[in-house]
Symmetry: D2
């Protein structure tokens, strides 16, 4: 089991700004996806592996709270953390931190379920125990990072 | 005062899909913005007017719950509704409905505050009573639509 | 055969702007797609029909020339026109016109080929004569609109 | 003067795919912007510096030719190269290369002019000789990389 999760870094692109001169709020949802993909890769659960396993993990909910603004060329660290997992549902929490100031800019969460390759909900623990274990481990890592 | 809010319609663009063959979840946040802009225009509070008034209404929070999938070329109705307003904070709730089936696909909310042209928080009721009244009326309309 | 192509209209969304206060240049490419989809629907060649026919029409090239700026809430008319078609390759040209001023803001082109459902290039005239005829007609309409 | 331009790397995000299972063609235009920003930073001409100088470099044209498909999680190298510069107009060419295969996936160009802080066209050589020199050097580097 991995001992620590690395933050994911994103440098803000010009096309992510809007006419208020800041990052458009919809882009944070996309950054969460980038950070989540990176988190799963850190524990060896790449998208390719996910497809081979026949596991689909759709987003069923998202929330985001904007605390301070992020601008073009800013570098942010995004810290994803599994906060809930019971084999059926999954919650990942995110902190977005401005690397220049250390400010916490945004917090958010995404909620997920698990579908098999026929797009049916199923119990990971029973049918994909190795995938179940990955998320159990991520939940442990998430608790340690609290 | 307007008597009823019209739904905003959006036809799904190809570029809004992802490789799962459905609309990428981040786009709903953008549709909320489209519907909110349209809602404000329905009561005469256009962006141009907002700028003239020197009122900025940033998004400070968003949440979204995905219930069923929306696909390319689907037409959705988005029903925005002011659910909270106290002169300092504003909440707008959204329902996304598949026009072909009548299914409720997505629900969500955005939260906002009010800034003056110097990007400072201020009390609408006192400093911009005419804008305050617009949102009071929208809150009334929102209650009626519950 | 349809006698005239209708322009496609797009009202600029806030999220399409960038920090220069204008529409980000990448979005025009997306508007071309919107207008092209609409053009094909006008002649009855919906995406659903395209899929039933087993015809895929990928974009293999794009160009765009920006003449004047478009801003939030502006309404633009996009006029797509088939300018080249020989059964193997297709060119669609676009004019983006500001509805308030009549100004020509942007011109562009997309280039396409035709693939069958196995992602192989093929000759439309021979294998899908009814689809071939649709684009022949669109080429005629395009010439008339010159 | 810098002796060699480094390629810019981009790892494809899930949200950049479309329902064909490949990167949506509009995103390459955004990657060009990422690579161009990076190129200018490599020679010390950051966005901050650009603003301090009062120089605006809008995109006035773009073209792109898609040769092979790029997919989720692929890593591409984008090689930007100044191919034309005369003090009034600027052309940057791009090659997008799949890092796994070495394949040239996409080629493209963006065309730019130079505006001063009042959004007027002006002659760099006369009014901003230090900025003029940066692009002269980039043109030299671009020729060497041909």
């Amino acid at each position: 089991m991995k001992e620590e999760i690395q933050a994911y870094h994103h440098k803000v692109h010009y096309y992510e700004t809007d006419q208020m001169g800041i990052v458009h709020h919809s882009n944070y949802i996309r950054w969460f996806e980038e950070a989540r993909t990176d988190l799963l890769e850190q524990v060896g659960f790449t998208y390719q592996k996910m497809e081979e396993c026949g596991v689909i993990i759709p987003v069923i909910g998202v929330n985001c709270e904007y605390k301070s603004m992020v601008r073009f060329n800013d570098i942010v660290a995004i810290l994803p953390r599994v906060t809930e997992f019971n084999g059926v549902k999954l919650t990942v929490a995110y902190q977005v931190i401005d690397m220049a100031t250390g400010n916490l800019c945004t917090i958010g969460e995404t909620k997920h379920c698990f579908l098999n390759s026929e797009y049916k909900m199923f119990r990971l623990a029973k049918e994909k125990p190795e995938v179940y274990q990955i998320f159990k481990d991520l939940l442990e890592l998430g608790k340690m990072a609290e």
